[in-house]
C-alpha cells in the first residue's frame, strides 16, 4: 500500500470525523477562535503600544543652542561630529533665520513680544541643532559629550551657548522609565494571556479526544499503527485551527473598521484598521500558523496518552 493511499485515508477520516463529531468540533473551534482572537489582539495592541511609545520618543530631543556669533561652518562642523556618535539617530540643523521664523510664528498673537522683537532690529536668536537619540536613555550620554565639548573649547572657539538637556532631564527620565515599564508589562501580560489561552485550547482538544479513547483502544486492538490512529485526530486538529483562524481574520475586519477612528483619536496616529489592512499578510500567517500548529500539536499530544501496544 502506497504512502499516498495512507495519507488519503487519514485525511478522509480526519474530515469525516470532524463532521460526524459536529458538536465536539464546534466547541473546539469556538474555544480556539477565542484563543486566536487573543493572539491577534495581543499582536495589534503590541503594535499600538509601540506606536504610542515611538510617538512619545519622537517628541523628545536635545537642542544645542549656539551663540549668535557662531558661523555656519562651525555649526556644520559640530553637526558632523555629533552625527558620528553611535547613540545619535538624527541631527537637524535650525539656522538663525529659521529660528526667527519659528519664533515669530509661535508668538504672532503676542503683540508685546512682537513689538519688542521689532525694536531690537537684529535677529537675537542663535542657530541650533536638534538631536534625536536612538533611545531615550541615551540622551544623558549625548549631553555629557556636548558638555565636554563646550568645556574644552575656550574664548572665541566657545560657540555653544547652552544645551537644554538638563531642563528636560526629569521629563526624559520619567518617560524612559515609563517606556521600559510598559514594554516589560506588555510582554508579561502577553505571555500570560497567550499561555492561558494555549492551555485552555489544549484541554478542550484533550477532552474531545478523551471522548474517543475507547475508539483509540479498538484501533490499537485491530493492529493499527500509531500514525494511522493518530493521523485523523491531527487532521481534525489542523481543521480546528484553520477554521478558527479564518473566523478570527474575517471577524477582525468589521471589528477593526469599527474601532479605527476611535483608536486614531485615542492613540495619536495609530489606526487599528489601517494596521490590520497593512499587516494582513503577517497577521494571516501568524493567526493561521499558530492555530494550525496549536491544533495539530494538541491532538498529537492528547492521542499519545491512549496509544499503547
Amino acid at each position: 500500500m502506497s504512502l499516498w493511499t495512507t495519507i488519503k485515508r487519514i485525511a478522509r477520516y480526519g474530515f469525516v470525523g470532524f463532521i460526524r463529531n459536529g458538536f465536539v468540533s464546534l466547541s473546539a473551534v469556538l474555544i480556539m477562535t477565542i484563543t486566536l482572537f487573543v493572539v491577534a489582539g495581543l499582536m495589534i495592541s503590541g503594535a499600538a503600544l509601540n506606536s504610542v511609545l515611538k510617538q512619545l520618543t519622537e517628541k523628545v530631543d536635545v537642542s544645542v543652542y549656539f551663540t549668535t556669533g557662531a558661523t555656519e561652518a562651525q555649526v556644520a562642523d559640530m553637526k558632523k561630529t555629533i552625527e558620528t556618535l553611535p547613540q545619535v539617530a538624527s541631527v537637524e540643523y535650525v539656522s538663525r533665520e529659521n529660528a526667527l521664523a519659528r519664533f515669530q510664528e509661535r508668538h504672532k498673537n503676542d503683540q508685546l513680544t512682537m513689538r519688542a522683537l521689532e525694536e531690537l532690529g537684529a535677529n537675537p536668536l542663535g542657530a541650533s541643532l536638534e538631536i534625536r537619540a536612538k533611545d531615550t536613555s541615551q540622551y544623558e550620554a549625548i549631553a555629557k559629550y556636548l558638555d565636554a565639548a563646550q568645556a574644552s573649547a575656550s574664548g572665541s572657539a566657545a560657540v555653544i551657548d547652552k544645551v537644554n538637556f538638563y531642563q528636560n532631564k526629569t521629563a526624559i527620565d520619567r518617560l524612559t522609565n515609563l517606556i521600559d515599564t510598559s514594554k516589560r508589562l506588555g510582554g508579561v501580560v502577553a505571555l500570560l494571556m497567550g499561555l492561558a489561552s494555549v492551555l485552555i485550547t489544549f484541554n478542550t482538544i484533550r477532552l474531545a479526544i478523551y471522548t474517543a479513547r475507547d475508539e483509540i483502544g479498538v484501533m490499537n486492538l485491530v493492529g493499527a499503527s500509531h500514525w494511522y490512529v493518530r493521523g485523523p485526530f491531527v487532521v481534525a486538529g489542523v481543521l480546528y485551527g484553520a477554521i478558527s483562524g479564518l473566523v478570527v481574520l474575517i471577524l477582525l475586519y468589521p471589528f477593526t473598521l469599527w474601532l479605527g477612528p476611535g483608536s486614531e483619536r485615542f492613540l495619536g496616529s495609530f489606526n487599528v484598521f489601517t494596521y490590520f489592512i497593512g499587516t494582513f499578510p503577517l497577521l494571516f500567517l501568524v493567526v493561521m500558523g499558530f492555530g494550525i500548529a496549536l491544533g495539530a500539536l494538541s491532538s498529537y499530544l492528547a492521542v499519545r496518552r491512549y496509544l499503547r501496544t
Binding site: M1, T5, R9, G17, R20, N21, A212, D214, E215, G217, V218, M219, L221, V222, G223, A224, S225, Y228, T309
Partner: protein, 227 residues
C-alpha cells in the same frame, strides 16, 4: 500453534493470581471453548495472546514466536493476524458498518478495490448485507456482534478470539453467533471462545477447557459444560 508455557498473571502485589501456572496448547484448526465462573481467568488468558495483558511469569507462544519478545511493529502485525470479538462489541462508534470492517483491511495494507470487494462479501457471510451503511447505534446487539465478527474474520486471521461474544445477546442471536463461529472454524480458522452459556458450549460439541480460580481443572476433547 498456540502454547501457554507455565503462565502466571498477578495484576498487583498481594492479589491472588488471575491465572496461575497454566500450560495449554492449541492446535491449528481447533475450536476450543474455555468455560468457568467469572474471575476464573478466562479473559486474562485470551488477552495475553494479543499482549493486551503481559504475563507476570512464563511465556505465550504464537507459532514459534514468543509474544513477550515481539517489537511494537511485530506486535501490531500479529494483531492483524488475530481476530477479536468481545462481549461489548467494541465497534468504532463514529464509523459505519462498511468503515468498521474496511478499517481492519486498511490497517492490514489492502488496496481500495480489494476492500470494496471483501466488505460486502464478509457482510453476506454474517447476514448483514442490508446494513452496510448503518452506524453501530442503529443496530441491535446481535447485529453489532455480527459486525464485530465480520471485522474479526475479514482479514482471514489464523486465530479468532471470542471473549463472551454471546454475553449480551438473546438465545436466538446467541445461536446465530455460534453458528457463524462454527462456520469460520470450518473454513480453517482456529477459534478460542470463552463463555458462561451452557447451551452454547453443549451445542458446539468440541474441546472444552474448564477453569477455576486461575487454573485449568478439566480439559475434555469433546466436552460439555460442567461446573
Amino acid at each position: 500453534m498456540i502454547f501457554y508455557d507455565k503462565v502466571t498473571k498477578i495484576y498487583f502485589d498481594g492479589a491472588a493470581p488471575a491465572v496461575a501456572d497454566i500450560t495449554l496448547g492449541v492446535d491449528p484448526g481447533e475450536f476450543v471453548s474455555i468455560v468457568g465462573h467469572s474471575g476464573a481467568g478466562k479473559t486474562t488468558l485470551l488477552k495475553m495472546l494479543f499482549a493486551e495483558v503481559v504475563p507476570t511469569e512464563g511465556s505465550v507462544f504464537f507459532g514459534t514466536r514468543d509474544i513477550g519478545k515481539l517489537s511494537n511493529v511485530e506486535l501490531l502485525k500479529l494483531r492483524r493476524n488475530i481476530g477479536t470479538v468481545f462481549q461489548d462489541f467494541r465497534l468504532l462508534t463514529t464509523k459505519n458498518v462498511y468503515e468498521n470492517i474496511a478499517f481492519a483491511l486498511e490497517v492490514a495494507g489492502r488496496n481500495d478495490e480489494d476492500i470494496a470487494g471483501d466488505v460486502p462479501h464478509v457482510l453476506d457471510l454474517v447476514g448483514l448485507s442490508d446494513k452496510i451503511w448503518s452506524f453501530p447505534h442503529e443496530l441491535s446487539g446481535g447485529e453489532q456482534q455480527r459486525v464485530a465478527i465480520a471485522r474479526a474474520i475479514v482479514n482471514q486471521p489464523d486465530v479468532l478470539i471470542a471473549d463472551e461474544p454471546t454475553g449480551n445477546l438473546d438465545p436466538i442471536n446467541a445461536h446465530d453467533v455460534v453458528e457463524i463461529l462454527k462456520k469460520v472454524n470450518d473454513l480453517g480458522t482456529t477459534v478460542l471462545l470463552t463463555t458462561h452459556n451452557k447451551s452454547v458450549v453443549d451445542s458446539i460439541g468440541r474441546r472444552v477447557v474448564t477453569m477455576d480460580q486461575g487454573r485449568i481443572v478439566r480439559d475434555d476433547k469433546e466436552g460439555k459444560y460442567s461446573l
